[in-house]
Subunit: 320 residues, 2 copies
Protein backbone atom coordinates (compact mmCIF):
# COMPACT_ATOMS: atom_id res chain seq x y z
CA UNK A 1 0.00 0.00 0.00
CA UNK A 2 1.44 3.36 -1.03
CA UNK A 3 1.87 6.23 1.42
CA UNK A 4 -0.74 8.39 -0.31
CA UNK A 5 -3.35 5.62 -0.25
CA UNK A 6 -2.64 5.19 3.42
CA UNK A 7 -3.13 8.91 4.08
CA UNK A 8 -6.36 8.85 2.09
CA UNK A 9 -7.58 5.87 4.13
CA UNK A 10 -6.96 7.82 7.35
CA UNK A 11 -8.41 11.05 5.95
CA UNK A 12 -11.64 9.32 4.90
CA UNK A 13 -12.16 8.08 8.44
CA UNK A 14 -10.82 10.88 10.61
CA UNK A 15 -11.24 14.20 8.81
CA UNK A 16 -14.37 16.01 9.91
CA UNK A 17 -16.21 19.06 8.62
CA UNK A 18 -15.63 21.86 11.07
CA UNK A 19 -16.13 25.46 10.06
CA UNK A 20 -12.90 26.42 11.82
CA UNK A 21 -10.81 24.01 9.71
CA UNK A 22 -10.11 26.37 6.80
CA UNK A 23 -7.74 23.93 5.14
CA UNK A 24 -7.33 20.35 6.34
CA UNK A 25 -5.26 17.32 5.35
CA UNK A 26 -3.49 17.58 2.00
CA UNK A 27 -1.38 20.74 1.95
CA UNK A 28 1.91 21.68 3.60
CA UNK A 29 0.09 22.76 6.76
CA UNK A 30 -3.46 22.97 8.04
CA UNK A 31 -5.07 26.40 8.37
CA UNK A 32 -7.20 26.72 11.49
CA UNK A 33 -9.27 29.51 12.99
CA UNK A 34 -9.10 30.02 16.75
CA UNK A 35 -12.19 31.77 18.12
CA UNK A 36 -11.69 35.21 19.66
CA UNK A 37 -11.42 35.33 23.44
CA UNK A 38 -10.05 31.82 23.69
CA UNK A 39 -6.54 30.61 24.40
CA UNK A 40 -5.29 27.75 22.29
CA UNK A 41 -4.46 24.74 24.50
CA UNK A 42 -1.86 22.45 22.89
CA UNK A 43 -0.46 19.15 24.14
CA UNK A 44 1.39 16.22 22.62
CA UNK A 45 1.83 12.64 23.75
CA UNK A 46 3.60 9.69 22.19
CA UNK A 47 2.68 6.03 22.48
CA UNK A 48 5.50 3.57 21.81
CA UNK A 49 4.57 -0.05 21.12
CA UNK A 50 5.62 -2.27 24.00
CA UNK A 51 6.11 0.70 26.32
CA UNK A 52 2.73 2.47 26.38
CA UNK A 53 0.62 -0.43 25.22
CA UNK A 54 1.22 -4.20 25.05
CA UNK A 55 2.41 -5.47 21.67
CA UNK A 56 -0.79 -7.50 21.20
CA UNK A 57 -3.12 -4.49 21.66
CA UNK A 58 -5.80 -4.29 18.95
CA UNK A 59 -5.14 -1.50 16.40
CA UNK A 60 -8.60 -0.03 17.08
CA UNK A 61 -7.66 0.39 20.73
CA UNK A 62 -4.25 1.89 19.87
CA UNK A 63 -6.00 4.50 17.70
CA UNK A 64 -8.48 5.27 20.46
CA UNK A 65 -5.84 5.48 23.15
CA UNK A 66 -3.43 7.65 21.14
CA UNK A 67 -6.11 10.31 20.98
CA UNK A 68 -7.54 9.66 24.46
CA UNK A 69 -4.31 10.30 26.34
CA UNK A 70 -4.03 13.68 24.64
CA UNK A 71 -7.66 14.62 25.21
CA UNK A 72 -7.13 13.75 28.85
CA UNK A 73 -4.46 16.48 28.96
CA UNK A 74 -6.86 18.96 27.37
CA UNK A 75 -9.54 17.93 29.88
CA UNK A 76 -7.09 18.63 32.70
CA UNK A 77 -6.78 22.21 31.39
CA UNK A 78 -10.55 22.62 31.17
CA UNK A 79 -10.27 22.93 27.38
CA UNK A 80 -12.75 21.96 24.68
CA UNK A 81 -11.08 19.71 22.06
CA UNK A 82 -11.03 20.97 18.49
CA UNK A 83 -8.31 19.50 16.28
CA UNK A 84 -5.46 17.03 16.29
CA UNK A 85 -2.52 16.09 14.13
CA UNK A 86 -1.35 12.50 13.87
CA UNK A 87 2.24 11.38 13.31
CA UNK A 88 2.12 7.66 12.62
CA UNK A 89 5.28 5.59 12.32
CA UNK A 90 4.60 2.07 11.05
CA UNK A 91 6.82 -0.94 10.39
CA UNK A 92 4.76 -1.70 7.28
CA UNK A 93 1.70 -0.39 5.50
CA UNK A 94 -0.92 -2.99 6.42
CA UNK A 95 -4.20 -1.53 5.14
CA UNK A 96 -6.34 -3.56 7.55
CA UNK A 97 -4.29 -2.48 10.53
CA UNK A 98 -4.39 1.18 9.50
CA UNK A 99 -8.13 1.07 8.85
CA UNK A 100 -8.81 -0.38 12.30
CA UNK A 101 -6.43 2.12 13.92
CA UNK A 102 -8.17 4.99 12.15
CA UNK A 103 -11.60 3.63 13.15
CA UNK A 104 -10.57 3.67 16.81
CA UNK A 105 -9.17 7.18 16.52
CA UNK A 106 -12.29 8.31 14.65
CA UNK A 107 -14.69 6.79 17.19
CA UNK A 108 -13.33 8.97 19.99
CA UNK A 109 -12.82 11.96 17.69
CA UNK A 110 -16.47 11.68 16.66
CA UNK A 111 -17.64 11.70 20.27
CA UNK A 112 -15.70 14.94 20.81
CA UNK A 113 -16.42 16.50 17.39
CA UNK A 114 -12.65 16.74 16.95
CA UNK A 115 -11.21 16.99 13.44
CA UNK A 116 -7.97 15.39 12.33
CA UNK A 117 -6.38 18.35 10.58
CA UNK A 118 -3.02 16.99 9.45
CA UNK A 119 -0.26 14.51 10.05
CA UNK A 120 2.65 12.52 8.79
CA UNK A 121 3.14 8.84 8.01
CA UNK A 122 6.58 7.32 8.16
CA UNK A 123 8.18 3.90 8.19
CA UNK A 124 9.84 2.72 11.38
CA UNK A 125 9.10 1.06 14.74
CA UNK A 126 5.41 1.45 15.68
CA UNK A 127 5.13 4.84 17.39
CA UNK A 128 2.20 7.25 17.46
CA UNK A 129 2.40 10.92 18.35
CA UNK A 130 -0.79 12.95 18.53
CA UNK A 131 -0.80 16.70 19.07
CA UNK A 132 -4.19 17.90 20.29
CA UNK A 133 -5.58 21.42 20.19
CA UNK A 134 -8.46 22.85 22.18
CA UNK A 135 -9.89 26.12 23.44
CA UNK A 136 -10.26 27.60 26.89
CA UNK A 137 -10.65 31.20 28.03
CA UNK A 138 -7.25 31.93 29.52
CA UNK A 139 -8.56 33.05 32.92
CA UNK A 140 -10.61 29.85 33.29
CA UNK A 141 -7.83 27.39 32.40
CA UNK A 142 -7.06 24.74 35.03
CA UNK A 143 -3.38 24.89 35.90
CA UNK A 144 -1.26 22.90 38.32
CA UNK A 145 -0.21 25.95 40.26
CA UNK A 146 -3.27 27.10 42.20
CA UNK A 147 -3.61 24.56 45.02
CA UNK A 148 -3.92 26.18 48.47
CA UNK A 149 -3.56 24.74 51.98
CA UNK A 150 -7.02 23.80 53.18
CA UNK A 151 -8.23 22.81 49.70
CA UNK A 152 -10.04 19.53 49.34
CA UNK A 153 -8.33 17.02 47.01
CA UNK A 154 -10.73 15.20 44.72
CA UNK A 155 -10.50 12.68 41.91
CA UNK A 156 -12.98 11.65 39.23
CA UNK A 157 -13.99 8.03 38.61
CA UNK A 158 -12.01 5.14 40.07
CA UNK A 159 -8.30 4.45 40.42
CA UNK A 160 -6.17 1.39 39.67
CA UNK A 161 -8.41 -0.23 37.07
CA UNK A 162 -6.05 0.21 34.13
CA UNK A 163 -3.09 -1.02 36.17
CA UNK A 164 -5.10 -4.13 37.07
CA UNK A 165 -6.02 -4.48 33.40
CA UNK A 166 -2.33 -4.43 32.51
CA UNK A 167 -1.61 -7.04 35.18
CA UNK A 168 -4.36 -9.20 33.67
CA UNK A 169 -2.93 -8.77 30.16
CA UNK A 170 0.51 -9.71 31.44
CA UNK A 171 -0.73 -12.76 33.33
CA UNK A 172 0.29 -11.24 36.67
CA UNK A 173 -3.28 -11.24 37.96
CA UNK A 174 -5.67 -14.19 37.95
CA UNK A 175 -8.64 -13.59 35.59
CA UNK A 176 -12.16 -13.42 36.96
CA UNK A 177 -15.42 -11.52 36.92
CA UNK A 178 -15.00 -7.92 35.76
CA UNK A 179 -11.70 -8.53 33.96
CA UNK A 180 -13.10 -7.13 30.68
CA UNK A 181 -13.93 -3.82 32.38
CA UNK A 182 -10.43 -3.53 33.81
CA UNK A 183 -8.79 -4.32 30.48
CA UNK A 184 -11.12 -1.82 28.78
CA UNK A 185 -9.89 0.85 31.20
CA UNK A 186 -6.36 0.10 29.97
CA UNK A 187 -7.15 -0.05 26.25
CA UNK A 188 -9.91 2.54 25.87
CA UNK A 189 -9.53 5.23 28.49
CA UNK A 190 -12.29 7.83 28.46
CA UNK A 191 -10.97 11.40 28.71
CA UNK A 192 -12.91 13.41 31.29
CA UNK A 193 -13.65 16.32 29.00
CA UNK A 194 -17.11 17.22 30.33
CA UNK A 195 -15.75 17.04 33.87
CA UNK A 196 -12.87 19.36 33.03
CA UNK A 197 -15.35 21.90 31.68
CA UNK A 198 -17.35 21.68 34.93
CA UNK A 199 -14.19 22.49 36.89
CA UNK A 200 -13.49 25.74 35.02
CA UNK A 201 -13.30 28.61 37.45
CA UNK A 202 -14.01 26.28 40.40
CA UNK A 203 -10.99 24.01 40.80
CA UNK A 204 -7.84 25.69 42.10
CA UNK A 205 -5.53 23.18 40.41
CA UNK A 206 -6.00 20.16 38.19
CA UNK A 207 -3.99 17.38 36.51
CA UNK A 208 -4.85 14.16 34.76
CA UNK A 209 -3.70 10.98 36.45
CA UNK A 210 -1.52 9.28 33.87
CA UNK A 211 1.57 8.34 35.90
CA UNK A 212 -0.25 7.34 39.11
CA UNK A 213 -2.08 9.37 41.72
CA UNK A 214 0.90 10.00 44.01
CA UNK A 215 3.15 11.14 41.17
CA UNK A 216 0.57 13.39 39.56
CA UNK A 217 -0.75 14.89 42.78
CA UNK A 218 2.94 15.42 43.54
CA UNK A 219 3.18 17.54 40.39
CA UNK A 220 0.33 19.75 41.62
CA UNK A 221 2.02 20.06 45.02
CA UNK A 222 5.40 20.94 43.53
CA UNK A 223 3.91 23.46 41.13
CA UNK A 224 1.80 25.01 43.90
CA UNK A 225 4.50 24.84 46.62
CA UNK A 226 2.19 22.92 48.96
CA UNK A 227 1.75 19.35 50.17
CA UNK A 228 -1.13 16.90 50.34
CA UNK A 229 -2.55 14.24 52.63
CA UNK A 230 -4.51 11.38 51.13
CA UNK A 231 -6.87 9.12 53.07
CA UNK A 232 -6.40 5.55 51.93
CA UNK A 233 -9.94 4.66 52.94
CA UNK A 234 -11.36 7.25 50.56
CA UNK A 235 -9.63 6.10 47.36
CA UNK A 236 -12.35 5.19 44.85
CA UNK A 237 -12.26 1.62 43.55
CA UNK A 238 -14.47 0.00 40.94
CA UNK A 239 -16.50 -3.11 41.84
CA UNK A 240 -14.40 -5.03 39.30
CA UNK A 241 -11.18 -4.03 41.04
CA UNK A 242 -12.59 -4.78 44.49
CA UNK A 243 -13.71 -8.20 43.29
CA UNK A 244 -10.48 -9.23 41.59
CA UNK A 245 -7.71 -7.71 43.69
CA UNK A 246 -7.08 -8.15 47.42
CA UNK A 247 -6.69 -5.04 49.59
CA UNK A 248 -2.92 -5.15 49.95
CA UNK A 249 -2.37 -5.61 46.22
CA UNK A 250 -4.99 -2.99 45.32
CA UNK A 251 -3.52 -0.01 47.13
CA UNK A 252 -0.29 0.18 45.07
CA UNK A 253 -2.37 0.02 41.88
CA UNK A 254 -4.57 2.89 43.07
CA UNK A 255 -1.70 5.06 44.30
CA UNK A 256 0.88 4.43 41.63
CA UNK A 257 -0.44 2.22 38.87
CA UNK A 258 -0.84 4.84 36.19
CA UNK A 259 -2.92 5.00 33.01
CA UNK A 260 -6.03 6.03 34.99
CA UNK A 261 -6.74 9.19 32.96
CA UNK A 262 -8.94 10.53 35.73
CA UNK A 263 -8.79 14.16 36.83
CA UNK A 264 -7.21 14.94 40.19
CA UNK A 265 -8.03 18.45 41.36
CA UNK A 266 -8.23 20.71 44.37
CA UNK A 267 -10.97 23.12 45.36
CA UNK A 268 -12.07 25.23 48.29
CA UNK A 269 -13.93 22.92 50.74
CA UNK A 270 -16.98 25.19 50.54
CA UNK A 271 -17.24 24.42 46.82
CA UNK A 272 -16.55 20.70 47.08
CA UNK A 273 -20.13 19.56 47.71
CA UNK A 274 -21.53 21.51 44.78
CA UNK A 275 -18.77 20.19 42.54
CA UNK A 276 -19.38 16.62 43.64
CA UNK A 277 -23.08 16.98 42.84
CA UNK A 278 -22.42 18.48 39.41
CA UNK A 279 -19.83 15.84 38.56
CA UNK A 280 -22.15 13.02 39.62
CA UNK A 281 -24.79 14.46 37.29
CA UNK A 282 -22.22 14.59 34.46
CA UNK A 283 -22.00 10.81 34.44
CA UNK A 284 -18.63 10.57 36.17
CA UNK A 285 -18.84 10.97 39.93
CA UNK A 286 -15.86 12.28 41.86
CA UNK A 287 -14.59 11.47 45.34
CA UNK A 288 -12.97 13.61 47.99
CA UNK A 289 -9.76 11.81 48.89
CA UNK A 290 -7.78 14.24 51.02
CA UNK A 291 -6.61 17.79 51.59
CA UNK A 292 -3.87 20.22 50.67
CA UNK A 293 -1.48 21.14 53.48
CA UNK A 294 1.35 23.62 53.77
CA UNK A 295 4.05 21.01 54.39
CA UNK A 296 5.59 19.79 51.10
CA UNK A 297 5.19 16.21 49.90
CA UNK A 298 2.31 13.81 49.42
CA UNK A 299 1.54 11.62 52.41
CA UNK A 300 -0.99 8.84 52.79
CA UNK A 301 -3.02 8.04 55.94
CA UNK A 302 -4.29 4.53 56.59
CA UNK A 303 -7.76 3.81 57.94
CA UNK A 304 -6.56 4.60 61.48
CA UNK A 305 -5.23 7.97 60.44
CA UNK A 306 -1.56 6.98 60.69
CA UNK A 307 0.83 7.86 57.87
CA UNK A 308 2.03 4.87 55.84
CA UNK A 309 5.24 4.41 53.92
CA UNK A 310 4.46 5.27 50.31
CA UNK A 311 4.85 2.76 47.51
CA UNK A 312 6.69 3.63 44.33
CA UNK A 313 5.60 7.10 43.37
CA UNK A 314 4.56 6.49 39.78
CA UNK A 315 5.66 5.74 36.30
CA UNK A 316 8.70 7.53 35.02
CA UNK A 317 10.58 6.91 31.83
CA UNK A 318 14.34 6.42 32.07
CA UNK A 319 14.24 5.56 35.79
CA UNK A 320 16.41 2.57 36.48
CA UNK B 1 19.14 10.72 33.99
CA UNK B 2 15.53 11.01 35.13
CA UNK B 3 12.78 12.09 32.75
CA UNK B 4 12.14 15.34 34.59
CA UNK B 5 15.82 16.32 34.50
CA UNK B 6 15.79 15.61 30.79
CA UNK B 7 12.74 17.82 30.26
CA UNK B 8 14.38 20.57 32.30
CA UNK B 9 17.53 20.29 30.20
CA UNK B 10 15.47 20.78 27.02
CA UNK B 11 13.36 23.54 28.56
CA UNK B 12 16.42 25.52 29.63
CA UNK B 13 17.70 25.52 26.05
CA UNK B 14 14.55 25.74 23.95
CA UNK B 15 11.86 27.62 25.85
CA UNK B 16 11.73 31.26 24.88
CA UNK B 17 9.93 34.27 26.29
CA UNK B 18 7.14 35.20 23.90
CA UNK B 19 4.22 37.31 25.05
CA UNK B 20 1.83 34.97 23.26
CA UNK B 21 3.00 31.92 25.25
CA UNK B 22 0.66 32.34 28.22
CA UNK B 23 1.70 29.04 29.76
CA UNK B 24 4.64 27.02 28.44
CA UNK B 25 6.34 23.74 29.29
CA UNK B 26 5.33 22.20 32.62
CA UNK B 27 1.55 21.84 32.74
CA UNK B 28 -0.86 19.43 31.05
CA UNK B 29 -1.01 21.64 27.96
CA UNK B 30 0.46 24.91 26.76
CA UNK B 31 -1.80 27.96 26.56
CA UNK B 32 -1.13 30.09 23.49
CA UNK B 33 -2.65 33.29 22.11
CA UNK B 34 -3.24 33.48 18.36
CA UNK B 35 -3.36 37.09 17.11
CA UNK B 36 -6.65 38.30 15.67
CA UNK B 37 -6.96 38.26 11.89
CA UNK B 38 -4.49 35.39 11.51
CA UNK B 39 -5.11 31.76 10.69
CA UNK B 40 -3.13 29.23 12.70
CA UNK B 41 -0.93 27.15 10.39
CA UNK B 42 -0.11 23.72 11.87
CA UNK B 43 2.10 20.97 10.49
CA UNK B 44 3.82 17.91 11.88
CA UNK B 45 6.75 15.85 10.64
CA UNK B 46 8.54 12.85 12.08
CA UNK B 47 12.19 11.94 11.69
CA UNK B 48 13.02 8.27 12.23
CA UNK B 49 16.66 7.35 12.83
CA UNK B 50 18.06 5.43 9.86
CA UNK B 51 15.17 6.51 7.63
CA UNK B 52 15.21 10.32 7.68
CA UNK B 53 18.79 10.77 8.79
CA UNK B 54 21.82 8.45 8.83
CA UNK B 55 22.44 6.71 12.14
CA UNK B 56 25.74 8.54 12.60
CA UNK B 57 24.21 12.03 12.29
CA UNK B 58 25.35 14.39 15.03
CA UNK B 59 22.65 15.05 17.67
CA UNK B 60 22.98 18.81 17.10
CA UNK B 61 22.10 18.30 13.44
CA UNK B 62 19.17 16.00 14.29
CA UNK B 63 17.74 18.69 16.57
CA UNK B 64 18.19 21.33 13.90
CA UNK B 65 16.70 19.19 11.15
CA UNK B 66 13.69 18.03 13.19
CA UNK B 67 12.62 21.66 13.48
CA UNK B 68 13.81 22.71 10.01
CA UNK B 69 11.68 20.22 8.08
CA UNK B 70 8.60 21.53 9.89
CA UNK B 71 9.48 25.20 9.42
CA UNK B 72 9.93 24.42 5.74
CA UNK B 73 6.26 23.37 5.67
CA UNK B 74 5.25 26.61 7.38
CA UNK B 75 7.38 28.57 4.88
CA UNK B 76 5.55 26.83 2.04
CA UNK B 77 2.27 28.20 3.46
CA UNK B 78 3.69 31.72 3.77
CA UNK B 79 3.36 31.49 7.55
CA UNK B 80 5.44 33.14 10.27
CA UNK B 81 6.70 30.51 12.78
CA UNK B 82 5.62 30.96 16.40
CA UNK B 83 5.66 27.79 18.50
CA UNK B 84 6.49 24.12 18.38
CA UNK B 85 5.95 21.02 20.44
CA UNK B 86 8.57 18.27 20.56
CA UNK B 87 7.86 14.58 21.03
CA UNK B 88 11.20 12.90 21.60
CA UNK B 89 11.52 9.12 21.79
CA UNK B 90 14.96 8.02 22.95
CA UNK B 91 16.56 4.61 23.48
CA UNK B 92 18.27 5.96 26.59
CA UNK B 93 18.60 9.22 28.48
CA UNK B 94 22.11 10.31 27.52
CA UNK B 95 22.42 13.85 28.90
CA UNK B 96 25.19 14.84 26.47
CA UNK B 97 23.20 13.65 23.50
CA UNK B 98 20.05 15.42 24.63
CA UNK B 99 21.93 18.65 25.35
CA UNK B 100 23.48 18.66 21.86
CA UNK B 101 20.12 17.82 20.28
CA UNK B 102 18.45 20.65 22.18
CA UNK B 103 21.25 23.05 21.20
CA UNK B 104 20.66 22.29 17.52
CA UNK B 105 16.91 22.72 17.90
CA UNK B 106 17.43 25.94 19.86
CA UNK B 107 19.86 27.40 17.31
CA UNK B 108 17.26 27.33 14.56
CA UNK B 109 14.40 28.22 16.93
CA UNK B 110 16.40 31.26 18.02
CA UNK B 111 16.87 32.44 14.44
CA UNK B 112 13.10 32.28 13.96
CA UNK B 113 12.13 33.54 17.44
CA UNK B 114 10.15 30.33 17.83
CA UNK B 115 9.31 29.07 21.32
CA UNK B 116 9.20 25.42 22.32
CA UNK B 117 5.87 25.36 24.12
CA UNK B 118 5.47 21.74 25.14
CA UNK B 119 6.36 18.16 24.44
CA UNK B 120 6.74 14.61 25.57
CA UNK B 121 9.76 12.40 26.23
CA UNK B 122 9.45 8.66 25.97
CA UNK B 123 11.70 5.64 25.80
CA UNK B 124 11.91 3.71 22.55
CA UNK B 125 13.64 3.69 19.16
CA UNK B 126 15.04 7.15 18.29
CA UNK B 127 12.16 9.06 16.70
CA UNK B 128 11.43 12.78 16.76
CA UNK B 129 8.07 14.38 15.97
CA UNK B 130 7.81 18.14 15.91
CA UNK B 131 4.51 19.95 15.49
CA UNK B 132 5.04 23.54 14.37
CA UNK B 133 2.61 26.44 14.60
CA UNK B 134 2.66 29.70 12.71
CA UNK B 135 0.44 32.54 11.59
CA UNK B 136 -0.74 33.69 8.19
CA UNK B 137 -3.76 35.77 7.17
CA UNK B 138 -6.04 33.18 5.63
CA UNK B 139 -6.45 34.96 2.31
CA UNK B 140 -2.67 35.26 1.87
CA UNK B 141 -1.80 31.63 2.64
CA UNK B 142 0.11 29.78 -0.09
CA UNK B 143 -1.79 26.65 -1.03
CA UNK B 144 -1.09 23.91 -3.55
CA UNK B 145 -4.32 24.48 -5.42
CA UNK B 146 -3.91 27.78 -7.28
CA UNK B 147 -1.55 26.96 -10.16
CA UNK B 148 -2.90 28.10 -13.54
CA UNK B 149 -1.87 27.24 -17.10
CA UNK B 150 0.58 29.86 -18.27
CA UNK B 151 2.07 30.35 -14.79
CA UNK B 152 5.83 30.38 -14.49
CA UNK B 153 7.27 27.60 -12.28
CA UNK B 154 10.07 28.77 -10.01
CA UNK B 155 12.23 27.31 -7.28
CA UNK B 156 14.36 28.92 -4.59
CA UNK B 157 18.04 28.06 -4.06
CA UNK B 158 19.60 25.00 -5.65
CA UNK B 159 18.45 21.40 -6.10
CA UNK B 160 20.15 18.07 -5.50
CA UNK B 161 22.68 19.18 -2.90
CA UNK B 162 21.23 17.21 0.01
CA UNK B 163 20.86 14.10 -2.12
CA UNK B 164 24.54 14.42 -3.08
CA UNK B 165 25.35 14.94 0.60
CA UNK B 166 23.58 11.69 1.42
CA UNK B 167 25.49 9.89 -1.34
CA UNK B 168 28.72 11.26 0.15
CA UNK B 169 27.73 10.09 3.63
CA UNK B 170 26.90 6.66 2.26
CA UNK B 171 30.13 6.36 0.31
CA UNK B 172 28.25 6.29 -3.00
CA UNK B 173 29.93 9.49 -4.21
CA UNK B 174 33.65 10.18 -4.24
CA UNK B 175 34.58 13.00 -1.82
CA UNK B 176 36.08 16.22 -3.11
CA UNK B 177 35.96 19.99 -2.94
CA UNK B 178 32.61 21.29 -1.71
CA UNK B 179 31.60 18.07 0.01
CA UNK B 180 31.10 19.84 3.36
CA UNK B 181 28.56 22.20 1.77
CA UNK B 182 26.61 19.30 0.30
CA UNK B 183 26.58 17.38 3.57
CA UNK B 184 25.52 20.55 5.39
CA UNK B 185 22.54 20.83 3.03
CA UNK B 186 21.55 17.33 4.18
CA UNK B 187 22.13 17.83 7.88
CA UNK B 188 21.17 21.47 8.42
CA UNK B 189 18.57 22.49 5.87
CA UNK B 190 17.59 26.14 6.03
CA UNK B 191 13.83 26.69 5.88
CA UNK B 192 12.93 29.43 3.38
CA UNK B 193 10.77 31.39 5.79
CA UNK B 194 11.58 34.91 4.56
CA UNK B 195 11.04 33.73 1.00
CA UNK B 196 7.64 32.26 1.86
CA UNK B 197 6.61 35.61 3.32
CA UNK B 198 7.67 37.38 0.10
CA UNK B 199 5.44 35.04 -1.89
CA UNK B 200 2.28 35.91 0.07
CA UNK B 201 -0.39 37.18 -2.27
CA UNK B 202 1.94 36.80 -5.28
CA UNK B 203 2.51 33.07 -5.81
CA UNK B 204 -0.49 31.12 -7.10
CA UNK B 205 0.66 27.85 -5.55
CA UNK B 206 3.58 26.76 -3.40
CA UNK B 207 5.10 23.62 -1.87
CA UNK B 208 8.38 22.79 -0.20
CA UNK B 209 10.60 20.33 -2.01
CA UNK B 210 11.10 17.52 0.48
CA UNK B 211 10.43 14.43 -1.64
CA UNK B 212 12.10 15.66 -4.84
CA UNK B 213 11.15 18.32 -7.37
CA UNK B 214 9.13 16.07 -9.69
CA UNK B 215 7.12 14.53 -6.86
CA UNK B 216 6.40 17.82 -5.13
CA UNK B 217 5.63 19.79 -8.27
CA UNK B 218 3.40 16.83 -9.09
CA UNK B 219 1.47 17.51 -5.88
CA UNK B 220 0.87 21.11 -6.98
CA UNK B 221 -0.27 19.89 -10.40
CA UNK B 222 -2.63 17.27 -8.95
CA UNK B 223 -4.08 19.71 -6.44
CA UNK B 224 -4.51 22.40 -9.11
CA UNK B 225 -5.68 20.02 -11.90
CA UNK B 226 -2.95 21.20 -14.25
CA UNK B 227 0.40 19.93 -15.55
CA UNK B 228 3.91 21.34 -15.76
CA UNK B 229 6.86 21.39 -18.11
CA UNK B 230 10.35 21.71 -16.66
CA UNK B 231 13.42 22.78 -18.63
CA UNK B 232 16.37 20.64 -17.61
CA UNK B 233 18.81 23.36 -18.57
CA UNK B 234 17.24 25.76 -16.11
CA UNK B 235 17.51 23.58 -12.96
CA UNK B 236 19.63 25.47 -10.44
CA UNK B 237 22.75 23.65 -9.24
CA UNK B 238 25.29 24.74 -6.66
CA UNK B 239 28.97 25.09 -7.61
CA UNK B 240 29.71 22.26 -5.17
CA UNK B 241 27.27 19.94 -6.93
CA UNK B 242 28.54 20.92 -10.38
CA UNK B 243 32.10 20.24 -9.27
CA UNK B 244 31.49 16.87 -7.66
CA UNK B 245 28.81 15.22 -9.75
CA UNK B 246 28.83 14.58 -13.51
CA UNK B 247 25.85 15.79 -15.59
CA UNK B 248 24.16 12.42 -16.03
CA UNK B 249 24.38 11.60 -12.34
CA UNK B 250 23.35 15.12 -11.32
CA UNK B 251 19.97 15.30 -13.04
CA UNK B 252 18.32 12.50 -11.04
CA UNK B 253 19.51 14.15 -7.84
CA UNK B 254 18.00 17.48 -8.87
CA UNK B 255 14.72 16.03 -10.08
CA UNK B 256 14.09 13.36 -7.49
CA UNK B 257 16.69 13.37 -4.76
CA UNK B 258 14.65 14.89 -1.98
CA UNK B 259 15.56 16.71 1.23
CA UNK B 260 16.09 19.99 -0.68
CA UNK B 261 13.70 22.06 1.47
CA UNK B 262 13.50 24.71 -1.21
CA UNK B 263 10.20 26.33 -2.19
CA UNK B 264 8.70 25.43 -5.56
CA UNK B 265 5.98 27.86 -6.60
CA UNK B 266 4.04 29.18 -9.53
CA UNK B 267 3.21 32.78 -10.40
CA UNK B 268 1.81 34.84 -13.24
CA UNK B 269 4.67 35.47 -15.71
CA UNK B 270 4.13 39.23 -15.39
CA UNK B 271 4.99 38.97 -11.69
CA UNK B 272 7.94 36.59 -12.09
CA UNK B 273 10.63 39.22 -12.67
CA UNK B 274 9.65 41.30 -9.67
CA UNK B 275 9.52 38.16 -7.52
CA UNK B 276 12.94 37.05 -8.72
CA UNK B 277 14.38 40.43 -7.82
CA UNK B 278 12.81 40.46 -4.37
CA UNK B 279 13.93 36.91 -3.67
CA UNK B 280 17.50 37.66 -4.77
CA UNK B 281 17.52 40.60 -2.34
CA UNK B 282 16.23 38.29 0.43
CA UNK B 283 19.47 36.31 0.33
CA UNK B 284 18.05 33.28 -1.46
CA UNK B 285 17.71 33.77 -5.20
CA UNK B 286 15.12 31.82 -7.15
CA UNK B 287 15.17 30.44 -10.68
CA UNK B 288 12.46 30.13 -13.29
CA UNK B 289 12.51 26.47 -14.31
CA UNK B 290 9.39 25.94 -16.40
CA UNK B 291 5.70 26.62 -16.88
CA UNK B 292 2.29 25.33 -15.92
CA UNK B 293 0.28 23.75 -18.76
CA UNK B 294 -3.27 22.44 -19.02
CA UNK B 295 -2.25 18.87 -19.78
CA UNK B 296 -1.84 16.80 -16.56
CA UNK B 297 1.52 15.43 -15.50
CA UNK B 298 5.00 16.80 -15.00
CA UNK B 299 7.25 16.55 -18.05
CA UNK B 300 10.88 17.46 -18.47
CA UNK B 301 12.49 18.96 -21.60
CA UNK B 302 16.17 18.45 -22.34
CA UNK B 303 18.44 21.20 -23.65
CA UNK B 304 17.12 20.62 -27.20
CA UNK B 305 13.53 21.04 -26.09
CA UNK B 306 12.65 17.34 -26.43
CA UNK B 307 10.79 15.57 -23.62
CA UNK B 308 12.87 13.04 -21.73
CA UNK B 309 11.80 9.93 -19.89
CA UNK B 310 11.50 10.92 -16.24
CA UNK B 311 13.56 9.33 -13.52
CA UNK B 312 12.03 8.02 -10.33
CA UNK B 313 9.46 10.53 -9.23
CA UNK B 314 10.55 11.05 -5.64
CA UNK B 315 10.76 9.61 -2.23
CA UNK B 316 7.75 7.75 -0.95
CA UNK B 317 7.49 5.69 2.20
CA UNK B 318 6.13 2.17 1.87
CA UNK B 319 6.88 1.99 -1.87
CA UNK B 320 8.45 -1.32 -2.74
Amino acid sequence: MAEFDLIELIRMRCARARADVRLGIGDDAALLAVPGGQALAVCTDTLVCGVHFPKDTAPYDIGWKALAVNLSDLAAMGATPAWATLALTLPDADAGWVAAFADGFAALAGECKLALAGGDTTRGPLTITVTAHGFVPEHLALRRTGAQPGDAVLVTGTLGDAAAGLALRQGALRPGRGEEQLIARLDRPVPRIAQGLLLRGRAHACIDVSDGLLADLGHICNASAVGAEIDLAMLPASPALLGLVADDARVPLQLGGGDDYELCFTAAPALATGLLNDLARSGCAATRIGRIVAEPGVRVRDVDGAFIASPRAGWEHFSS
